[in-house]
Amino acid sequence: MHTGMGSLAHTVGTYAAGLAAHEGEAHAATGFTAYAWLLVALPLAGATMLLLGGRRTDKFGPVVATALSWAAFVVGAIIFVEMLGRGADSRAQNVTLYEWVTAGTFKLSAGMLVDQLSMVFVLLVTFVGSLIHVYSLGYMEHDPDKRRFFAYLNLFVGAMLLLVLANSYLLLYVGWEGVGLASYLLIGFWNWNPAYATAANKAFVVNRVGDFGLTVALMLMFFHFGAVDFQTVLGKSAALTGANQGFMTAMGLMLLLGACGKSAQFPLQSWLGDAMAGPTPVSALIHAATMVTAGVYLIVRSAPIFEAAPTAQLVVVIVGAITLLFGAIVGCAKDDIKKALAASTMSQIGYMMLAAGLGPVGYAFAIFHLLTHGFFKAGMFLGAGSVMHGMNDKVDMRRFGGLSGAMKITWATFGLGWLAILGVPPFSGYWSKDKIIEAAFIGEGWRPWVFGGAALIGAGITAFYMSRLFFMTFHGKKRWDADDHPHESPRIMTVPMIVLAVGSAFLGLILSWNDMFVSWLEPVTGAEPEGAHPVVPVPLLLTLTLLLVAGGVFLAWMRYWRDDVPVTAPAGSLVTQAARKDLYQDQVNEALLMRPGIHLTRSLVFADSKGVDGAVGGLAALVGGTSSRLRKLQNGFARSYALTMLAGVVAILGALWVIS
């Protein structure tokens, strides 16, 4: 019998049974890959247990959360090994879970796409994420709300894995806002400080602006393709030949808006600097290595849409170029070590975005840089946390200096990250960033010169501000306060830093061997077009880049190592002042959006109570036969009138009853 309860049983039944496999490139999952949902479920189970378990789980909760994060890594590693065992063509697998939403013509099942691209993210997120869990065991040891912190970290890992594993834009959206929620909760983790609470709100609201773009993109997809799963949307986008440019451009731009919010790209970059209010491990994991790169993932995943919309693709490159310079300039002026790193993150994601907008010549390198950046930037953030740990939670680099002696491991691991981000061969960043610069110089007309130029100049500025940061912190004269007694952090914190530093040093080299990484991704991102050469010869480009980098380092050495660094910041030039204020991003947003919004809200509230309500109230009073307005309503004629009307209705009904 088909019943209401029966339909519930039916829904749960399909959950177990799964749906018929999709046809096409992604095969139905076999072997352990079918358990990919464990990747999401394990960390989410941890978060649930810690949040619902309450104080009872205070003691063992953080350790369990860490263990569950490692368990997710193990699951990911097994699936990865399984994937390696298959041929390149059959590596992408589809795990269909259950019928999720069926509403009218909208039909979608929840499922996961386990392919080469999502696997890169799974390994990055679970490995770096688990290391940061371990580090946090030390960093957050004395925080009374430690359990809540680990619950949120687990929530983040689960949501991030859902984001990268989802096989439809709608399920991706769930992970997308899930990581946003975790980010909001962790930025505001110490929200007894009102400024931190504001930072958390800012992050969420700016991201919502981006998510508006994602929503509109979903509307366009459903309208245009009648579906929102990757298979249909991307398959049909790839099959388009020049038709429906307008639609595809709109779709691409809306996706880009979403990516800009999540990845702090211009013009939605303003939240990232303030997000440093969160505990430092959070900055390392969420606001450097993983979540903020989700925008790049979105663009690369949606490659067929952008291939069909060259205008949108161009805008991606422009946004990336602007942001990489924007972040680099801001990074030069920040004295707060975490905010300087945040600006750098923004700038580096700008590089990835630029690469993602270049098309097949850039996709693989966007992801490659995302991966190496995940290691070296997370490592440097953990290093910054270690410095703060040893310096009474100070973040002002003008009060650091000469820390290399006191914190040898921190200095060495940070130093490897520094070399990596500079792009010094043979460290990791060189293999990914230099390739992006090369790719930016490929093309015709003005584009390679403008975009390549931006990427090249950005590399020089990066060298300057990162060296400034490194020297101001670890070298030069000691500018410590009297009560500062810097010391190395405990082993539970240094070991994750060492592991990440090893990755910063060698990951790029290893993965570049035989073009290993690029060919791994090729089935997803497409092959690099043959015969695409930069407009400047590669050896010349390489020399130029290294010269600019050396120049940046030298300049920083002169000003921040050789010369004394004043403990209070000098007034600085107009550019410095602007950079300190993040190029006036908040002022612009306030003038254009916030203040008009507040005025609109206030005047509407006033109009609603005085205008709309007053008019209606006056009318009601008029009906009541009295001109002295609402006060009379309470005991005046209107009340008896209304009650009489009600009584009348009842009486009529009664009379009809009697007649019958």
């Binding site: 069926t102 009218g104 997308w176 929200n191 509307m219 459903f222 309208f223």
Partner: protein, 515 residues
């Protein structure tokens, strides 16, 4: 059109609370026992309702099931006729779940009074809530237009007394305002109801919906009739500019009343739009669409902007509802199956979402003794558990993906886009405003340094946890398994849309571009 039931399930379900109300009000006993009895009767109604739901067959071709029909006033064509489609069933179940939750939340709403008469007010309060439950079942189950009207108006009586006798300092004013607005809408509808009957075939059961469906009415008359019904529903829903009674009613009434008023009663408005406006006046519905869509989008943005500007929690929550009702109406008048299903699901989700916001906010008000947002601050450190569930309620209000409200809002938007692209895109900005009104409220109330002098304030009690658990569970279950409800809703939506004759099975551009 109606599948008759051998057991009068709907009548039994509806009568249980009424019997409960009489027992609670008139059988002597302690107040505590009376409250327990009231809760017991509402739980019994829920159990019977679930049993009734198992008899429902989503794959049936009949519009109404669990049907009952008795001639009531044959001279005037009125029958006592009940029956449910998927939407009505879901809304009845929602009412049946929310009532016991509200009763439990309302445990200490009425201050204890000393003396022999002490418990009478409390008993009256619980009895009125049960009476309201009976009418809620009736209004969704009525398949006779006149019977619907009777329930529609009868609901006003318990609500009027619930607001006017048990509310806050300005309760008299709020109750009267509510009554005037509702009566004004209702009387216009009464005229339309009678005029509609005169257009129909007449006879001893001439008020049955099935007798009045598919009439060929002269366009002007049809439009007038549509307007008559629509105005009453727009006041009830409420849509801008007929909304001003709601914030007053919600803030002056007790939280349980506010929950049932906004969460369930207001749904009669949007339910009525689908059941009566679309089904009985399809041509006029299409004629009125541009105006209705405009009002819906205005409601979305206006409600959200006003919510941002409120300093009273309860008013803020009621303005968020005005915004959400805008979404529901948008989905209904998009005339697509996806939009309609989204709106129907939205009605269900919004009931739980609003219940969570009102009831959890009330837990805070109870502790602080104030509804004003600025009177709070730093409460996450006073009552972390309560702050946590309040945040989840808020996230449901802003339609966070993963929670049930997201699915419905998303379906409304993607479902509206094919026919109303501008409205859908403009409406989507409402989700940015939603983040603002929820998170600003949370920030003002919960974050900041721990306030002094609140040492005696306790976190969630067991009773409060029992109130919260079913609501929060619903968020997650319907967020990840919305098909539980959609399987039942979809056929009802298709049926309603079949009257407006829009072919929603095809998304135009998809067919044009990819073949």
């Amino acid at each position: 059109m109606t599948e008759m039931s051998t057991v009068p399930w709907l009548t039994i379900t509806g009568l249980i609370p009424l019997v409960g109300a009489l027992v609670v009000a008139f059988v002597p006993g302690t107040v505590e026992n009376a409250k327990r009895l009231a809760l017991g009767f509402s739980v019994l109604a829920l159990v019977v309702g679930i049993v009734a739901a198992t008899q429902y067959d989503p794959s049936s071709t009949k519009q109404f099931q669990l049907g009952e029909q008795v001639s009531w006033i044959p001279q005037f064509g009125v029958s006592y006729s009940l029956g449910v489609d998927g939407l009505a069933l879901v809304l009845i179940l929602m009412s049946l779940v929310l009532t016991p939750v509200c009763l439990l939340a309302a445990w200490h709403d009425v201050p204890e009074e000393a003396g022999p008469q002490g418990g009478r007010r409390t008993k009256a309060y619980f009895a009125l809530l049960l009476v309201l439950e009976t009418f809620m079942v009736g209004v969704f189950a009525a398949t006779d237009v006149f019977l619907f009207y009777v329930f529609f108006e009868a609901m006003l009586i318990p609500v009027y007394f619930l607001i006017g006798r048990f509310g806050g300092p300005r309760r008299q004013y709020a109750a009267m305002k509510f009554l005037l607005f509702s009566l004004a809408g209702g009387l216009i509808m009464l005229v339309a109801v009678i005029a509609l009957y005169l257009q129909g075939p007449g006879g001893t059961d001439g008020f049955l919906i099935e007798k009045l469906t598919g009439l060929s009415i002269d366009p002007t008359t049809e439009r007038l009739l549509f307007v008559g019904f629509f105005l009453a529903f727009a006041v009830k829903a409420p849509m801008v500019p007929f909304h001003t009674w709601l914030p007053d009613a919600a803030t002056e009434s007790t939280p349980a009343t506010a929950t049932l008023l906004v969460g369930v009663l207001d749904k009669v408005g949007t339910f009525g739009m689908i059941r009566f406006c679309l089904q009985l006046f399809p041509e006029a519905s299409k004629w009125a669409t541009p105006v209705v869509i405009a009002l819906a989008v205005i409601s979305v943005l206006y409600g959200a902007l006003l919510a941002i500007g409120q300093t009273d929690m309860m008013r803020l929550i009621s303005f968020t509802s005005i915004s959400h009702f805008g979404f529901i109406v948008l989905g209904i008048f998009a005339f697509t199956s996806t939009g309609g299903a989204g709106s129907s699901l939205y009605m269900l989700n919004h009931g739980f979402s609003t219940a969570a916001l009102f009831l959890f906010a009330a837990m805070l008000v109870h502790r602080r003794g104030s509804k004003r947002i600025p009177d709070f601050g730093g409460w996450q450190r006073v009552t972390p558990g309560l702050a946590g569930i309040f945040l989840v309620a808020g996230l449901s209000g802003l339609a966070l993906p993963g929670l049930s409200s997201f699915i419905s809002e998303f379906l409304v938007l993607v479902g509206s886009f094919p026919t109303q692209p501008v409205a859908a895109v403009v409406g989507a900005t409402g989700s940015i405003l939603a983040a603002l009104y929820i998170l600003l409220m949370y920030k003002r109330m919960m974050t900041g340094p721990k306030p002094d002098g609140l040492a005696g304030v306790r976190d969630l009690s067991l009773r409060e946890k029992v109130v919260a658990a079913p609501i929060l569970a619903t968020f997650l279950v319907l967020g990840f398994f919305p098909n539980i409800a959609l399987h039942v809703i979809n056929p009802a939506v298709d049926k309603s849309l079949s009257y407006v004759h829009t072919d929603s099975a095809v998304t135009p551009a998809a067919e044009g571009s990819t073949k």
